[in-house]
Amino acid sequence: MQSPAIEIDRLGFAWHQGRDVLDIAEFTVQRGERLFVQGRSGSGKSTLLSLMGGIVLPTRGQIRLLGQSMQELGAAARDRFRADHLGVIFQLFNLLPYLSVLENVLLPCHFSSVRRQRVLARAPSIEDEAMRLLQRLQLAEPELWGRRVSQLSIGQQQRVAAARALMGAPEIILADEPTSALDAHSRDAFLGLLLQECAGLGTTLLFVSHDAALASRFDRTLVLDALRPLEAV
């Protein structure tokens, strides 16, 4: 049996020996599961994402991604692991403004041979896969692909960011408030496309937002509370 996508065991985290910002007794996300993480500002959402991305290590307890304990990896190996197995969608998209749409989407394959190989296993070239993803995310006009991302609308930029995260089918996608810059209509359209594409690739999606209205579209919800983080289903 495959190990779960994310396993958390008695995890605690504090910045600079201060008060714990996170305290999660036990939590597991299965592969292919779509999880909604809800919490107010300062509830430890960002810290949770940094822990899951292997950027910081827990102060106490364990975090395992795809069966691999993050503590057991060195810094360089965690970088590698993140590049190979994680896709991230940021609140502010974080596209490179001086690259074209297509070049932005291709970036993960330049930093991870694992993701490149995965793409080439089912597409003739990484460019083909990038174009396929862009089309799936309703950025179908080829004339868009050569443009610099700074010339795109906010909604379009967020879809480019999603295509970039999906590139090379990473097992886990972390989305950090990706819809906060979008209006209600774009938000729903974006979420629909993202959920659809994750389902198609069998990707585990961890979607962080303060917007409780979105929770109904996910398999499960984790609520983080600012004062006493707790777990809910």
């Binding site: 960002s46 994402l49 940094s50 991305g53 950027i55 910081v56 360089a76 970088d79 590698r80 993140r82 590049a83 190979d84 991230v88 940021f90 609140q91 502010l92 974080n94 596209l95 490179l96 403004p97 001086y98 690259l99 070049e103 291709l106 970036l107 993960p108 330049h110 930093f111 991870s112 970039r164 972390l174 950090d176």
Partner: protein, 419 residues
């Protein structure tokens, strides 16, 4: 798309500030290599003042002092050499030629040198270059004068013009030999040596203008006109110094020794090369100062480079964090920034050298005319290549600092890129 192309695209995106950085480095490199060039040329130009002369003979004094007044026309001789002694040594079987040097008079701040026609035949400067005339010919008549290039240019003199020689030095000298004007018959081509600032007449002419003088004062009521002067015996009684060319270099030391032991009067013979080297070592402080300036210039240039790179790093903090979140490894970020620093430094060096060569090409005539420095348009010397390599190495090292900081940032920024 490799890191290389990413680096280039990122740089292109910041073309404006990158261009300024390149310009900063270019100016530093231009100054460094330029100062180094001037330093080398000053030294060469100095060593090039005299060539081909085996011995310089004067009254007994320090060898540096003799060199200074005989070749550089700086200062005055404390004693003269008797004309008889000069003729005796000139007649020595090993001596090929001699050039008499009679100094002491001036024309509007320029030295007047009494010398023979052998001066134009045998005097050599740089690497065995002979004197050339840009106009006219050597003096032939008693009251004819040949001008150095700078004298003619600064005073605007033409051939055929009349020139009055003043007694002693100084523009405003009251005692002028105005009863015996000289006619300009030749103008020398520039040599970048003290010759350019000198007027040349025959030794007899020096004697002639001093006929009615004694102990530096005009004798009242004893005027000897120019025409009367021609009638008299104008062989000088003494001269300041003279240059000697030998038939064989082998006899240099033997002749030097015998001149130094000359019995009739205390004489001294010096080897120009040795004296020039000794004099230059006295001026070594100035040379070292120039070197220190060069180094300071480069240091400031590299500090500028570091400032610009660190400044742009703050702008790029977000870019670096994005790349890292996409899986770029620390060494890739480090190489990205170091490559950029190396590229900017290289472009700066190339541009700096181009500017320098352009500057030299444009200012060459000015340098030659006003400073007597002959700047050559030549490929960088070994030393200059070393400087360029050091600048490049320093540029790369400078790039490592922001590279390292970028790595630190990317750790601190984590997955939340909100800068």
């Amino acid at each position: 798309m490799a890191m290389l192309s990413l680096a280039l695209k990122s740089l292109k995106n910041r073309a404006g500030s990158a261009a300024l950085t390149v310009l900063t480095i270019a100016i530093s490199v231009m100054l460094l290599i330029g100062v180094e060039q001037v330093r080398t040329e000053a030294r060469t130009s100095f060593a090039n003042t005299l060539s081909g002369t085996d011995l310089i003979v004067g009254a007994r004094t320090g060898q540096t002092q003799l060199l200074l007044y005989s070749v550089f026309h700086i200062g005055n001789a404390s004693n003269n050499v008797g004309w008889d002694s000069y003729r005796t040594i000139a007649a020595h079987p090993q001596v090929d030629w001699t050039i008499p040097l009679l100094l002491g008079d001036s024309h509007r701040g320029f030295r007047v040198l009494g010398t023979s026609g052998d001066f134009f035949r045998h005097y050599r400067y740089a690497r065995d270059r002979a004197l050339a005339f840009s106009a006219g010919q050597p003096f032939d008549d008693l009251f004819e004068v040949v001008l150095g290039a700078q004298v003619a240019r600064e005073l605007g003199y033409q051939l055929g013009q009349e020139v009055v020689i003043a007694h002693g030095m100084g523009d405003t000298s009251f005692s002028k030999h105005d009863d015996k004007p000289f006619r300009v018959v030749g103008i020398l081509a520039p040599t970048a040596t003290p010759i350019d600032r000198t007027l040349m007449v025959s030794p007899q002419a020096i004697q002639a203008i001093h006929l009615d003088w004694q102990a530096g004062v005009k004798l009242p009521g004893q005027t000897v006109s120019a025409e009367e002067a021609r009638e008299q015996d104008l062989t000088p009684t003494e001269l300041t110094a003279f240059m000697v060319g030998l038939k064989s270099r082998m006899s240099t030391f033997a002749l030097q020794r015998s001149i130094n032991n000359y019995r009739k009067e205390p004489l001294q013979a010096i080897l120009p090369g040795v004296a020039l080297a000794e004099l230059w070592s006295l001026m070594g402080v100035a040379e070292q100062a120039l070197l220190v300036i060069s180094v300071a210039v480069v240091f400031s240039g590299l500090t500028g480079l570091l400032t610009v790179l660190l400044g742009s790093l703050n702008e790029r903090r977000r870019e670096i964090a994005i790349l890292r979140s996409l899986g770029a490894r620390p060494w890739q970020l480090l190489s990205l920034l170091t490559f950029e620093a190396a590229l900017l430094t290289l472009l700066g060096s190339v541009l700096g050298m181009a500017l320098l060569y352009l500057g030299i090409a444009l200012s060459q005539p000015l340098f030659a005319q006003w400073l007597g420095l002959q700047l050559e348009l030549s490929l960088p010397s070994a030393r200059q290549w070393i400087f360029l390599a050091l600048v490049q190495a320093a540029g790369i090292l400078t790039g490592l600092i922001p590279g390292w900081r970028a790595y630190r940032y990317s750790l601190a920024d984590g997955m939340t890129i909100r800068i």
